[in-house]
Symmetry: C2
């Protein structure tokens, strides 16, 4: 039923823009509107959307069985193209040059656009489905909560096995083992385990480097459940940390807690970012907080709304966002602490259960 409602809401948008058709190919958007399974790297499914009448989900033989087995909403028909044919080309062929067709201009590439533009009048639909996705319903929040529980449980088990001298590879192998064993359908993004100087790289992939002597190790990871992502970060010290690292850790934690304390429906992404940034600035590390405070999480691990300096819009009930301040001292160390929260009318529901006190293994 939820898919039918989403399709109807999208139909409203299409009509409002005076369009007769829309072509949806971004995998998360196709999944959101129809529930058709999406796998990374597949992405060949095309939703051929009519403002009036039946919607078609056009798939290759490769994707047909899984799509059919999953079931699709009322009012949607599955069409399978022949082996070797492209679902998108099959849809383009239906146009006669004069139809008004909405396209996902934030996803379609220039070369596909050039191939399509002679076939119909193409009009951008912008991020209209992405904006619908920003406010989650209870079922979606339930899946994200479950994903985050798997992540928290796996991290607690991992903590019990971490010890000084372990390599980033070893630590990641233990963590991912427990994530999968706990029911992760996939990883929401490539697991980050970055120690010592490497913790300065916010996107540091695991390496053979061994952590010891009080070094900070950043663990940033997430899983997928029912298509929905989790996202969390903890920074753990391998051995007793130096005073500066403790100072930074406390500043980052204060920054995060101050933001969590004021987060609720209505506050803008900019003001939330500013709350955390002010704490870090007053501790003297403002220059070293080199990214925004957070981002929305859902079918994509990075989606709207953004909790950063450029978002002046108020957050809404049902947004699910990360709150993840970080301080990175080049050549030395980095600290980041990240929780995943649901924005509610009068505050937040924090989905993240892992403790945040300074942890030494």
């Amino acid at each position: 039923m939820r898919h039918e409602l989403r399709l109807e809401a999208f139909r409203e948008e299409i009509r409002k823009n005076g369009l007769e058709y829309a072509i949806v190919t971004k995998p998360e958007n196709v999944f959101y509107l129809t529930g058709a399974p999406f796998a990374m790297g597949s992405g060949g499914k095309v939703l051929f959307f009519r403002a009036e009448g039946e919607v078609e989900l056009v798939v290759s033989p490769l994707d047909y069985e899984e799509t059919a087995a999953k079931g699709i909403p009322k009012g949607v028909a599955i069409e399978m193209v022949a082996f070797g044919e492209s679902p998108l080309e099959a849809v383009i062929k239906r146009f006669r040059g004069c139809e008004k067709v909405g396209i996902e201009d934030g996803f379609l590439t220039v070369s596909i656009y050039e191939r399509m533009k002679g076939s119909a009048h193409l009009a951008p639909i912008g991020g209209c489905i992405e904006r619908m996705r920003e406010v989650k319903d209870d079922l979606e929040i339930g899946l994200i909560r479950k994903a985050q529980e798997i992540a928290d449980t796996a991290f607690q088990k991992t903590l019990a096995e971490l010890k000084e001298g372990m390599s980033e590879f070893e630590a990641a192998s233990v963590l991912e083992y427990y994530l999968r064993r706990g029911g992760a359908e996939g990883f929401a993004f490539e697991t980050i385990v970055a120690s010592g100087q490497r913790a300065v790289f916010p996107h540091g992939m695991p390496s053979a480097r061994r952590a010891r002597g009080g070094e900070a190790v950043v663990f940033d990871f997430g899983v997928r459940v029912g298509g929905y992502c989790s996202d969390m970060t903890r920074t753990v010290f391998f051995g007793t940390p130096k005073v500066e690292a403790i100072d930074v850790y406390c500043a980052v934690l204060r920054a995060q807690e101050s933001a969590l304390a004021v987060a609720k429906a209505g506050i803008s992404g900019r003001d939330l970012d500013r709350t955390a940034r002010a704490e870090i600035e007053s501790a003297g590390y403002g220059e070293r907080f080199v990214h925004g405070l957070g981002h929305g999480v859902g079918l994509a691990v990075h989606e709207g709304p953004i909790a950063g300096p450029k978002n002046e819009k108020g957050l809404m009930q049902g947004n699910v966002i990360t709150v993840e301040p970080g301080v990175y001292i080049p050549g030395a160390f980095g600290v980041r602490i990240e929780d995943l929260v649901v924005i509610r009318e009068n505050g937040i529901e924090n989905l993240t259960a892992s403790p945040k006190g300074l942890t030494v293994v």
Copy 2:
């Protein structure tokens, strides 16, 4: 030195097309030309390429430290934009409306194109860097070989622990544990473990389903080393399989071996696909081989050249491709066997060491 040579080859292409500049933002392409580290989901780096003179790599503060630490080739300068500024916007501002600028039309989105098109004369460069990437040098092949060794070793260790009644989650957790422990910097794509009826879905993600009673379980996985991917598939039976499954397994294996036997520089992707497909057709399963035979593997796990019905061009020495026939019987089971091979003058170097005889656990 190899990056300098690649930059020079790209410069030649740009000049040949009468362009003064090019903008490269696809993460694999930026990495290929400069060696600047790329992380999934980052992708904010912009290579501002001049046909004459210095090339600039424009990055956000978030990416600056890691990029600087890695080092960049001669003739490239790192430029860091201010916090909150977009590297791409910073580059667009430099144009005065009349410059001839090459863009990656197969990667840039329509909305970015619309924002840029008033600033300069934009011209497509198509897949010109992707085509350079198709032929690997010895260093690249060495990294792919290493990635494939990690995958083979982990799979052998996993096989020893698989047993009837294990869930897909459990099997995946063991496999990924050994992959990481063996030195995987990341996974090349989301690991597929699909059993029984689910093995019919070529992109089936692991689930809680337990495999038993002679069911086929498809394991399709890969890792990254130095940015380069591996890719392999084995199908293992959990318990003694039924006769039809054995028949299909043997047909798929014969198909793969017949393709491996004829693969070498000069044979077209179409003819290689046809060789394998003929074997499967003669076994009566032609309709059930619903994808192409294989694809190139490198910085992307799916890249050129394609070993499929539509590629009439001859394969080249130094191409690295998968050879992965599969047969999927809806409602019943699926079998796929995949090796990763280097195309050589007179044959192939098979990078995959895992045995392919019918395996029952």
